[in-house]
Symmetry: C2
Subunit: 258 residues, 2 copies
């Protein structure tokens, strides 16, 4: 009744693929397709869910689409309040009408969910390069959605590359909400060079740019600089003291603490 390591690993990899391909898979279906008992299915599910990308639900498992389903993920983790509060703080900066850019990143996705809930009562045009954001915002009444084209980067579920930058050409944004991987005294940084280049291109076309960064990003610095603090705003759950300690000083009108 025992099976080689590689066999287990291969089966779990396959399970991951199945869930990704189907979006949602009940336990019973998993048993049938992988020809294993419910007990093993659950164990595999737990293992696969443990290292991310898949979310466990009651009757089965859900593909994450990179955390598109944050309500599930957030409920499990502690980040819920932090991300949610940052998103709520940012949402107050979203005008009732105009052209908006929404970047990738889980916090920005949370903002998208807030906007989706807010729903009608507005005349927004939203442009995004994030697939999860598009999924959340697609079909919201009173909201026109445009998606930039590009190459798909799985790790962040984002479209990037020269096509994406070219697609920016015709747009000008009243406001943009972006994510990042690090912030310190020198500014905001990202780990992927082409993503950083893309974000810089967005900034050039934006009147009011806000970065949504929770406190875990504070003090970390990743290879590719996106912007210094001279012209961007910050929405964060960190404190003024800790920001100052990291060398970040921003005027009140460009800093939102939640």
């Amino acid at each position: 009744m025992r099976v080689p390591f590689h066999e287990v690993a291969r089966r779990r990899e396959r399970l991951r693929g199945l869930i990704r391909a189907d979006g949602f898979l009940p336990v019973g279906e998993i048993c049938r397709r992988l020809d294993i008992s419910p007990a093993t299915a659950r164990r595999d599910l737990a293992a696969v869910a443990a290292d991310g990308r898949i979310t466990r639900t009651h009757g089965g498992a859900l593909a994450d689409y990179n955390a598109a389903f944050a309500s599930v993920g957030e409920r499990a983790g502690r980040a819920r309040t932090a991300k949610g509060r940052v998103a709520a703080g940012a949402a107050r900066q979203v005008p009732r009408q105009g052209v908006l850019f929404l970047d990738a990143g889980t916090t920005v996705q949370a903002l998208a969910r807030v906007l989706a809930r807010r729903g009608g009562a507005s005349r927004l045009v939203v442009v995004t390069n994030s697939l999860p954001v598009a999924n959340v915002l697609g079909g919201v009444p009173g909201l026109e959605l445009h998606v930039l084209g590009g190459t798909y980067l799985h790790r962040q579920a984002v479209l990037f590359g020269p096509e994406a930058i070219a697609a920016l050409g015709k747009w000008r944004f009243a406001a943009a909400f972006l994510g990042g991987e690090g912030m310190d005294g020198s500014g905001v940084s990202n780990s992927h060079p082409e993503i950083a280049a893309f974000q810089r291109a967005v900034l050039q076309r934006t009147r009011a740019a806000w970065f949504l960064l929770d406190h875990t990003k504070l003090g970390t610095r990743t290879p590719h600089a996106v912007a210094d603090w001279s012209r961007i705003g910050l929405v964060t759950d960190a404190t003024v003291a800790r920001l100052a300690a990291a060398g970040i000083h921003l005027p009140a009108q460009r800093l939102i603490l939640v």
Copy 2:
């Protein structure tokens, strides 16, 4: 204990929005947010699921993202076998390498799932304008994914418009797999003018174009013509006799019956 019609309708509309925004919602959560009993929550869920867009699961409900989760939806309906078989038939026409275009539509999504399962062992470049297809194919090893930009059309979860057509410019496809809404003796047709225009633009850039159309589309004709039968292939679960009866005659190498 009774509540006005509009109240119920409004609450269900709100529920729809909540599920869309969160992706997945357990029954308990719905009770809390809408302040209703589990019984009413289930009833509302059933009502909302009945007219589509949302899929019921064991512990709650799932946003469809326009049938991205076909395994759930298909299991419920009868179309499963038909769509799945058409998709499997089309999959045999997919080369091991080269540049592919995948259109929107549930049958094409089924094809995408087949390709996702097939996984590695190939060197494919896939271009699509369908968000569900992108979701399914994103992150599949050995597969490079590009998404065309454009305006988001909720009803079909597709990106279209002049931006999408412009984004086609640089591409040439070895094969393309498209959906449609109707087929008769005159060819394939679609109900949305801009979608039809987009599909025609795809055809101009494609060596081998296949339309994936199940038998329910046979004989119906929608306002906007996409292509006649002179240069396109058809994958369908209809029979030769019924195709002939509808005035469709295709050489064997451009017709796949499943």
